[in-house]
């Protein structure tokens, strides 16, 4: 296997494992706070996935961040830029997704606190058994 | 010529940093409790982070193939170094305070503890 592919596959494998762990946390752990934590891990993993999709390995040299750094000789530098910079679109999408995930997390956190005020616990199993 | 000097001084500082880093990490592993590990962590932050950051700044000033953004690199590294020097001790201090007040970490081995005595005296 070529080295860049190896790099990608190492990350992919770890991301998949994390995805599974996060899903387990969401569906199987009783505490609401733990579920919230698992959701943040899940969305982080999805974001990492998106960034990985935008990664590239140029023919020569190392990949560059998508920021134009050198504009002295426009034609040459833009050519170098296109040949070496990684894909900016997934990064922009991820940026949006991170903020959205944070917003949802914020709101759920408020609701969990309110839930505790009303029920006296954040353990869904306990509330489920007490209400029946 | 000036580039070479900057780069060599920077490299020397980075080398010191790496050495401190490794020593600190070994200390982190070997020391027996939280309070003693704090000292190792200090080695890691001052020797292992601030010194190499200054070194990197010097190196960057010497690396003229990086373009004009190398000044940004240098400035940001030094500001980062200053920030770490300012903030890291406070972090250690508040952690130690919390650990001591809430009794989070075992205190042994400890020869004597004036703080505990003081607290006992105040509670009487």
């Amino acid at each position: 296997m070529e080295l860049p592919t190896l790099v990608a596959s190492v990350i992919v494998v770890s991301l998949y494992v994390n995805l599974g762990i996060a899903l387990y946390g969401i569906f199987a752990r009783p505490s609401l706070v733990k579920k919230l934590l698992a959701i943040t891990i899940l969305s982080d993993t999805a974001n990492a996935f998106a960034v990985l999709v935008g990664y590239r390995w140029p023919r020569t040299g190392t990949p560059q961040p998508p920021v134009l750094m050198n504009t002295t000789n426009y034609n040459e530098s833009i050519k170098y830029y296109i040949e070496h910079a990684v894909d900016p679109l997934p990064q922009a999408l991820v940026l949006t997704a991170i903020v959205i995930g944070l917003a949802v997390t914020l709101f759920i956190a408020f609701v969990i606190i309110q839930y505790y005020r009303l029920y006296g616990t954040v353990n869904v199993r306990k509330t489920a058994t007490s209400s029946r | 010529m000036i580039n070479e000097i900057l780069v060599y001084v920077g490299e020397a500082l980075v080398l010191i940093g790496v050495f401190c880093d490794i020593a600190a990490s070994i200390g982190m592993l070997r020391f027996p409790n939280f309070y003693t590990r704090m000292h190792a962590a200090t080695v890691g932050t001052i020797g292992g982070a601030v010194v190499p950051l200054i070194g990197v700044a010097l190196m960057a000033l010497g690396c003229d193939w990086l373009g004009t953004y190398r000044f940004f690199l240098a400035g940001a590294s030094i500001v980062a170094g200053i920030l770490i020097m300012l903030l890291a001790p406070v972090g250690t201090h508040v952690l130690a305070l919390a650990a001591h007040r809430a009794g989070l970490a075992p205190k042994k081995p400890l020869v004597f503890d004036h703080l505990e005595e003081e607290r006992a005296r105040r509670n009487d």
């Binding site: - | 401190c20 200390g27 020391f31 190792a40 001052i46 130690a96 305070l97 081995p109 004597f112 003081e118």
Partner: protein
């Protein structure tokens, strides 16, 4: 009003310098934005950060600070680092830890913080707690040579205190 405006001047100057330093460029854009940022920050937080504008603008104190930093890095830190690294790598790991009361005698918060941070930043001593009213630090000392607070002050912090007094008091 006047005191607030005065206090914002050193804050603004400091902000401006750090802004340019961080940006690493002296272009027109950076200078203009830096000036705007410096004025805003100076007005907003100036009177919180700066206690005495006269002291903050004093060149002598700044010069002393520079000397202190150089001395601190070259002498105090080096000694302490070597000591702790030796202990960490030593096969037997000789440790003699203790929490000791160390008195200090400076009046301003900044001076106190300078001493405390200097103590914590030198490996081997960490400020665990402080008694703000009676002016004591409680220092966790990796190699407690003595249990007497005054002697400990001599070993740990007397030099820092000298400088702190000169710079901030």
């Amino acid at each position: 009003m006047t005191r607030k405006t005065l206090a914002s001047i050193p804050a603004a100057i400091l902000s401006f310098v750090i802004y340019l330093f961080y940006t690493g460029s002296l272009g027109l854009f950076d200078v203009i934005t830096g000036a705007i940022v410096a004025v805003i920050i100076g007005l907003l937080v100036g009177n919180i950060v700066v206690e005495n504008p006269g002291k903050a603008l004093s060149i002598r104190r700044g010069f002393l600070m520079l000397i202190y930093i150089i001395w601190y890095f070259l002498v105090a830190e080096t000694k302490a680092h070597i000591d702790v690294i030796k202990r960490a790598l030593h096969p037997k790991m000789p440790l003699n830890p203790a929490i000791i009361k160390v008195p200090y005698n400076v009046s301003t918060d900044y001076a106190m913080t300078l001493i405390a941070n200097s103590i914590t930043n030198t490996p081997g001593t960490v400020v665990v707690d402080l008694d703000y009213e009676n002016k004591y630090f409680f220092v966790h000392w990796l190699d407690a040579k003595t249990s007497d607070p005054l002697k400990a002050r001599e070993i740990i912090s007397s030099k820092f205190e000298e400088f702190a007094k000169k710079i901030f008091d």
